[in-house]
Amino acid sequence: MAVRRFLGWLLALSVTAALLSAPVWAAEHPYVLHMMVLICIYAIPAVGLNLMLGYSGLVSLGHMGFAGLGAYTAAVLMVDARWSFWSALAAGTVSAGLAGVLIGLICFRFRGHFFMIVTLAFGLLLHAIMNNWDAVTRGAAGFAGIPRPKPIAWGDTVIAFGQLPNFYYLALALTALVFALQYLVVRSNLGRILGAIRQDERLARSRGVNVLMYKTVVFSLGTALAGLGGVLHVSFLRVAAPASFTMLESINTVLIVIIGGAGFLVGPVLGAVVFVALPEGLRLANEWRLVIFGALLVLITLFAPSGLAGLLGRLWARLGAGSKEPGP
């Protein structure tokens, strides 16, 4: 037992240390840092979807539409209205969250298939707006010239976010915050209510849960996080393109959540790591990457529905053989 606890702490400490010192050990390989920023950019909306799908049972197929909404809101504010990155970040997040409230209220009149189809339709609608409203979004050609945050002066040092390591720390900090939020929500009374809604909506209702209200809360929280990720994404790449927020991208987010492990705290991060890093690690040709992920998604759904986190959890439980773990 003590061995496991020790190993657990060791693991947590090493991972934290590695993350914080990445610019040092990856100095010779800037593409590694670049990948880690991408992992953060994928993980943040995935946390949002995990809260919706994994913990509350809401299968939203239009998630990246909201990421695009946040991204373009921030882009327009930064470029056309000269807002600072930080204000635009907040605005993008809030606007995606508000859209989630409105669209969610419409979607929640439906269950099962119909709910999924409406979310898909709204995702497509949002993408169509990004693609066609040339006057504001610059249309299919993309919205160039999106800035990184302005440099921050701290005493004598200046932190310029145009430099990869500094932007990496920003991405890491935001991801950590989002992760902490996920933890706080899931391990709270709100988490219990969401879990009850997922397990048995009728029962939750009869025990006093205003199901519509709480679905709206988690849906808008999820879309807000998608918006946050979207803003980070377009500031990193310095360009916003509708192609980043298509139906297929929404499917990729579902993939990340499911492969990582829906309903597990580490799921979205594991999924993002696999999605971004595995192809690089295996030197996969680009075309085959998504083919393999598609097959992986089917196989995981058939044989290991609790994803990587579930598999690792079972392994961890076996390590501590003798303890009874009622797993999900």
């Binding site: 189809i117 709204f122 497509l124 169509a128 066609n132 139906m247 998504l290 083919v291 097959a295 759904t301």
Partner: protein, 291 residues
Amino acid sequence: MNEALLEQVINGLMMGSIYVLVALGMVLIYGVMHVVNFAHGVLFTMGGYLGHFFYHRLVDSYVLAILLSMLTLGLIGVLLERGVFRPLAGNLRNQVIASLGLILFLENGVVALWGPNALQWKVATTERFVEIGELRFSQHHLGIILITLVLVAALGLYLKYTRFGTAIRATSQSQEAAIVVGIPVRRVQWTTFAIGAMLAGIGGALVGPLFLVFPQMGDVPLIKGLAGILLGGMGSVPGAVIGGLLLGVTESVSTLYLPTDYRDSIAFMVMVLILLVRPQGLFGQRMRGED
């Protein structure tokens, strides 16, 4: 002005016919398995690629290429039903997620095998024309409408007058009752899935020479098919036909009044509106409470 309208109506009927082919497959599968097959779009895409492959590598006849493509899709349909959907039966969430995985697998598989660029496909019927009054349409355009009509009629007769067709109808009304009465429900399910896949495949093979064969060619038909069956009424076969045709005609006619950029958005708005105003569509039964 009248002529422009007629031209768009006929265009719309052609596009609508394509939507019908997709929608019909989806509605049959939904009836018999209670699953919306989101992977139907990639089956359509495969129909296009396989048709192209058979035409350029195996046979010289367009008709044969379509038939071969159709049969292959039928086989793929059976494999998918038995390998992916049957094991996940009863769990809607996982079935939908698996179908999303299939989309990624097949759509990107096609890119990996054939490359990301569109393929050209020349067949004679796109270059021969028919005159209707002052208007001119390619034989291909009208052929699509005719073939779809024939297929719909054949399917209708099959469902109504053959034993197995009746078994399909019975299963979509009530699976439990069908089992009790001795209908081989499993066989009905994989056969229906195969029929649906074949219809999608024919659609792709028909559309290929018209609009090129490219990896995303099934994405839009998937959405149009969904919109069509929602409009017609989930679970209604005649509804899928009418819904698909109606959608096609509405879209085409709208290009006379709206910028063409927004043509595809009509389908999304139809979907949302129908679900808000009349969720059972034009001909569907009252929605099951899928609680």
